[in-house]
């Protein structure tokens, strides 16, 4: 996209203002009673017609969760969460539709407002030959999946995880919890006990997934925590790019979101996972907003496998998220590209872990944090080189930008090396927007706000270029909206 058009887009997005995706869809939802107990879990499992082994797995996770305490090491503060005051299951009342025609028109309109190209007709105008398959998650049940046929022809399985449990139990059973064990941490255990839906992707040996796969998450019914579970497996020599995008309606109450994403890459496989997260961040006084406590982890099990996480985090009142890579396969590569923007009273504590186990493994970390308003933005990352990881290589760059004097930017990297042949490099900087850059833009007639947006976009470019094109455009607009009101 030419720079001029981009700027116009950005500017117009700014002038529209506010959280433009804060509306609520009125669809009847079926709620499980509030609270978490074995009964709730049995109810969820029964509603989803799950096999016995999965129920047993959930109950085990629940037992583990009960012995755990909420982690408090992150630099975030929030009132205590009452886990008994949450609905753990919400589903649209109607049966899962067989085709788009059966989808509730109200729901389709919601997606239209969000600009999600659910139907083929809407498939991203202007992107030549571009097709994006959307497995739209509306609250907890996936209501529609497109492009099934194209994918099926290639042998790719892309479906809601509840469906995968029914139709591909052997795959789910083999990989579920193999990267993030049920008792991994407090929020992962909670998710394992009560997850209701999410996506399942399986790309068989030698297949390059013919299109980008995409899931849009929305949090809709009041007070329903979302516990998504995503599992992506790329077999030998397979490739898949997966996009996750989030917007949520405006509301007052804090909402808990504890998702788990597991990626498995076998020999020479590659998984690209991109996220644009724009959940409701709370209002300018810090009321409301989503609590986003996510566990994302990828295992590079095979030799020369690759996993890359790219994220643009502009939303949520609190973000607690560390997409990680376990680099087990010889010569495997992990990457983490992140832009985290916080404004008003938002708090983000995000980063990555790169665990180098195999020889010749490498990893790249590029993190850009932008804090404005009264927000706090923390990068927290770990690079660990295990004794067998000969010739391992890591490069880390964390840059922080401060806009205003009431916000905070923090960098907390952990570097642990146990192998002499490994090379680890880490760089971090913190600064404000340079006066000369601002002056340059202002002298060319841009308003202060637009100048800041332009400069911030440049600051994030290294990460944006890792995003698929259509996502990059959305990300730039989001950035502008998120920073609105932070200057002047």
């Amino acid at each position: 996209m030419p720079a001029v058009a981009e700027t116009i887009e950005t500017v117009s997005a700014v002038t529209e203002g506010g959280y433009k995706w804060g509306f609520e869809t009125e669809i009847e939802t079926e709620l499980a009673p509030k609270g978490l107990s074995e009964e709730t879990i049995r109810l969820i499992s029964a509603r989803k017609e799950e096999p016995e082994w999965l129920l047993a797995w959930r109950l085990k996770a629940f037992a583990a969760w009960q012995t755990m305490t909420e982690p408090h090491w992150a630099r975030v503060a929030h009132p205590p969460i009452d886990y008994q005051d949450i609905h753990y299951y919400a589903a649209p009342r109607k049966k899962t539709p067989k085709s788009l025609a059966e989808v509730d028109p109200e729901l389709l309109r919601t997606y239209e407002k969000l600009g999600i190209p659910l139907s083929e007709r809407a498939a991203l105008a202007g992107v030549e030959g571009g097709q994006v398959a959307v497995d739209a998650v509306f609250d907890s049940v996936s209501v529609a999946t497109t492009f099934r046929e194209t994918l099926a022809k290639a042998g790719v399985i892309f479906c809601p995880i509840s469906e995968a449990v029914r139709e591909h139990p052997e795959l789910v059973r083999r990989y579920l919890g193999s990267v993030v064990p049920a008792g991994d941490n407090f929020f992962a255990a909670l998710n394992s006990a009560v997850f209701t839906d999410g996506s399942f992707v399986f790309v068989p040996r030698g297949v390059r997934c013919p299109m980008e796969l995409s899931t849009y998450f929305r949090i809709n019914a009041r007070s329903t925590g979302q516990f998504e579970r995503t599992l992506i497996i790329a077999e030998d020599n397979a490739y898949v790019s997966y996009l996750e995008g989030c917007t949520a309606p405006m509301r007052d109450e804090n909402q808990l979101h504890a998702a788990v994403v597991e990626l498995v890459a076998l020999n020479e496989a590659e998984i690209k996972y991109s996220t644009v997260q724009n959940w409701y961040p709370g209002d300018a006084e810090g009321r409301g907003g989503i609590y986003n406590f996510v566990t994302k982890r990828g295992a590079c099990r095979g030799r020369r496998s690759k996993i890359s996480w790219t994220q643009v985090e502009t939303g949520s009142a609190i973000t607690w998220k560390y997409p990680s890579c376990i680099l087990q396969g010889e010569g495997s590569h992990g990457a983490f590209y992140s832009v985290a923007v916080t404004n008003n009273h938002q708090q983000a504590d995000t980063g990555t872990k790169m665990i180098h186990i195999g020889a010749n493994t490498s990893s790249t970390i590029v993190s850009k944090g932008i804090s404005a308003g009264r927000s706090n933005n923390t990068y927290r990352g770990l690079v660990r080189i295990m004794p067998k990881a000969a010739n391992a290589r890591n490069f880390t760059q964390c840059d922080s930008l401060l806009i205003g004097d009431k916000c905070g930017a923090h960098t907390v990297p952990y570097i642990e090396s146990r192998n002499a042949t490994a090379r680890v490099e880490h760089e971090a900087t913190t600064s404000k927007i340079a006066e000369d850059q601002l002056f340059y833009c202002r002298s060319r007639g841009l308003s202060e706000e637009d100048s800041v947006n332009l400069i911030v976009n440049g600051f994030c470019r290294e990460v944006f270029k890792e995003l698929p094109m259509e996502f990059a455009v959305e990300a730039q607009k989001l950035l502008a909206v998120s920073l609105e009101g932070s200057v002047g």
Binding site: L402, C407, G408, H410, S417, R418, V424, E425, T430, K432
Partner: protein, 421 residues
Amino acid sequence: MSAALQEVAEGFSARFRKLAPRLPGSAEARQRAASAFRARGFPDTRDEAFRFTNLRPLADVSFAEPDGADEAALALLARVPANEGPRLVFANGRFRAERSRLPEGFHVASFADEPMLDGAVADESAPLTVLNTMLAEDGAVISVPEGVDAGTLVLVSLGAGEAGRAVDFHPRHRVILAAGARLALIEIALGEGVYLHNPVMEATLGVESRLLHVKLQNESTRAFHLSSLHVGLDARATYEGFSLVSGARLARSEIHADIEGAGAMLAMNVAQLLDGERHADITAVIRHLAPGGSSRQAVKNVLTGRAQGVFQGKIAVDRVAQKTDGYQMNQALLLSDEAQVNSKPELEIFADDVKCSHGATVGALDPEQLFYLRSRGVPGREARAILVRAFLAEMIETIPHEWGRSVLENAVDSWWKDRPV
């Protein structure tokens, strides 16, 4: 805290109860420290600040207070590099006036005579300082009046103990520089056998004063060295520190610096040379509490054998500390397969008009550089020595004090001579 370590902590608390009546200084400050120590004891690896350093080895030893027979320690004075100027000698934590040469032109006393327990006495974030505050019996009190350039002062600490009769001592040093005062303080710690040296130094730097602090920590390889330095800097004051850690079985050196006056400057350079099973930790917390300050930290670890090196450095910039310039560099050289380095360079920033950055690198000697030297006829061992020295040179060569520099240089040389690297 493990049960074994708990026992050590209880031993120290019991010691305090016994010694309390005769300990110098504010009884109230002592009591506060004692109850803080009793409540918390030794930190364990679940404490974020001690994540990489386990104090558990302290429990391998049973400690007793020094009995005053410090002749074995005093005998080690012969190993201290010779110099002419004023010198303060401590043996097992006790000031030995007869072996010291007191300076003229500024005030020096022993802590036993002039106890000062004002600073960070019961600061929960510094449990080792808390232990010191509870048990400190002696130390050096150094005070340089306004505008005086005090020249060089050498502070020697000698320790000696045996496995069966390990001693522990907790000297409390106080350095006060009035406005415009200057001092070059050269600290040398060495010893023989098993002991615990837990010194705390509190330094207050007045407006435009300047402290050059060179430290050689060459304790016995069976000893424990847990030291804390607390520095407060007033406007435009300068603290410049250079230290070499080449001794002790388990070492933890904490630096807590508060930049309290505008335009103050702090530079901290540390090199650690570790071999065998040794563990050494540098933990620095630099707090910028006033505008226009600058801080520079450079920490280098050279590790061989099964040694473990740790660096934790934090630059914290308060909201008022605009125009702060903070920099932190951490480099580690791993010379063996089993050596390990852990580092955590941390930035915590609440002011927007600042320039803060850090860098960290971990790696082995560059094979190409080794090849270059080898191809010019330099034997492997020497080639490695040249490269390691070059790695350290950056820090040592910049010491603006000739004698201080030679002390550290010679220590690096002799360390290298003794090790088959």
